[in-house]
Chain length 353, copies 2
């Protein structure tokens, strides 16, 4: 089996962590019948500065032909006045999610061996946020009137469809079935009554189809409280695009692993390539120094293999990362390691499995 992988290593530390992810992928596939064939795409800030373009239609068409996209990080240095804020994020990252219909934005969240969290409690937790990726307040359906005057009105429209909500909720239930069997719907249906009602009714429908899954509902404000007081209570969280954006940063923070957290933007229908990227950004402040932790990129690569059906190799990556992090924790080393040292350590682990 050969898979064609588009690589967008991007800006800042993106290329550094992606290089390590590829090392680890190669090691994990060494004795596997699956092969990855990589095609590199130069996109992000440098490309924008050189060409004035974020994502050409032709490039988008080429990207569609791959089996998956391995993504590093994009985003300009905020010090760099040449790049208007938000352009790369919207016209590249969000554009890919929308054009490729990545309706499942998957953010597994867990504590990591030896990684301290900002919480006083040291109890481990492990949950996954299934964030809707193609609707909600992210649709870009806003406008402004009388801009710049004292009569300015600016609106943002959150658009939610039965089609869009059902497919992501169904996916979340399927994940709950293969995990600990619990799902939490997070919304704000006491205020956002129309979209909240659609989400609630959809969860009730899917719950009836999945009687083995228990579920509860939580307002988004209350969810932030539980996230810091009792994250153990979560198994699968399903929520809309904006609430998911907010909750997953918080989740990353409380796990101590905002720099370790992987993510996947998945087209569940399989009609377009899904995309796998670390949650962290391009971190221009430490770029080019070979010190960025590649773990999140490596775990994202693992999610990619899993998605492609290369389950054994995916498992090897996950297992190697856990074992190696546990060893670093036990021997109290690991701090101060360079990107390549970490990548190499994971590679050795995989070879020793």
């Amino acid at each position: 089996r050969t898979f064609s992988i588009a690589v967008i290593d991007g800006d800042g530390i993106g290329p550094e962590v992606t290089a390590e992810a590829r090392k680890v992928l190669n090691a994990a596939l060494e004795n596997d019948d699956a092969t990855l064939h990589y095609t590199e795409y130069s996109l992000g800030t440098r490309h924008w500065l050189e060409t004035g373009e974020t994502l050409h239609d032709e490039t988008l068409e080429k990207l569609r032909s791959h089996d998956a996209i391995l993504f590093g990080a994009v985003g300009a240095d905020p010090q760099d006045q040449r790049i208007p804020s938000g352009v790369i994020e919207r016209d590249l990252l969000l554009k890919l999610r929308f054009e490729l219909d990545h309706y499942i934005n998957l953010r597994p969240t867990r504590t990591y061996p030896g990684v301290s969290t900002p919480l006083a409690s040291t109890e481990d937790f492990d949950f996954v946020v299934v964030r809707e990726g193609t609707e909600g307040p992210y649709v870009g359906n806003g406008g402004s009137l009388r801009r710049g005057t004292t009569q300015e009105i600016a609106t943002e429209v959150s658009v939610n469809t039965a089609h869009g909500v059902r497919r992501v909720v169904a996916d979340a239930f399927a994940r709950a079935v293969s995990r600990r069997g619990h799902l939490t719907l997070v919304h704000k249906h006491n205020v956002l009554t129309h979209s909240g009602s659609l989400w609630r009714r959809t969860v009730e429908e899917q719950a009836a189809l999945n009687p083995q899954v228990s579920w509860d509902y939580m307002h988004v404000d209350a969810a932030t409280i539980h996230m810091v007081t009792n994250p153990q209570r979560f198994d699968v969280i399903v929520t809309d695009n904006l609430f998911g954006d907010i909750l997953t940063d918080l989740a990353g923070a409380v796990s101590g692993g905002i720099g370790l957290a992987p993510s996947a933007s998945i087209n569940g229908a399989g009609t377009t390539p899904s995309m796998f990227e670390p949650v962290h950004g391009s971190a221009p402040d430490i770029a080019g120094r070979g010190i960025a932790d590649p773990t999140a990129a490596i775990l994202s690569a693992g999610l990619m293999l899993d998605h492609l059906g290369v389950k054994d190799a995916a498992g090897r990556i996950e297992q190697a990362v856990n074992a190696q992090m546990a060893e670093w924790a036990e021997r109290n080393t690991g701090g101060g390691l360079g990107s390549a040292e970490r990548g190499d350590a994971y590679v050795s682990r995989i070879k020793a499995l």
Copy 2:
């Protein structure tokens, strides 16, 4: 000076904590030239069950005639099937905020002596969230089409006006001037570009008028990270209605004080009565047992005096609460105290000042 105060003690623990707040108010005003005259309004779940009404127009008109509203808590027991979810919250609490144009939703957040937080760090912090209270996604401007079919579309419109944003941002800058001189705008302008731009331009304008205030911008997702890793960095946060709702629950949680946090819904123009309420809800599970902590209601009463210009008495309440909490912490008592015991202890403190 006599002030006419409307009291809505509400549901669950609302009446218990409001009674203690009134005790403390009386003590704080004993040797003051200000007098409060109370009028009680029976609103909330019981009223709804008895009359089928949440807030009659006539009642609203009567409420307008007061100088301030002291609010306990409203909200039905979620076990109680007779009360549709969200009705009391929307048709009473939010209706009051909108009808009385409470555009400043103020949520001071700080650590309390002897109160542990869910964070590992024990460093104190003290900031205030100025949440917009009359616009944003709370305007109820949504709808749905083809409801209940596979073609359902549900929308929610966030409405933001120059008028609405300017007045709350100006208020936040004024607070920053009288605090530590720093303001953080929280939004998501890289995605919600139209409203985000209005907020940003408004902050820039007000910043030019307040050169003594330094300010920064933070995306709402990033703000949740800072809230758990470094809440000390905040002084005044200004943000929209929905982001403010989410952030203040998180802020309450990380301060350890979701049950201790006061709030104020303020009409900054002074044309309607402002409203003062604890952030906690009606807590039906512990209602009627005299064990609810009245501290948040008491601190909210302090905010009311401050707002009415009765500054000395307001200061006495704040001081007494801090001193008493510090004593409980030092002597390791305070756990397990009843509502009245706590109220009485604060009263004694005030008398001893």
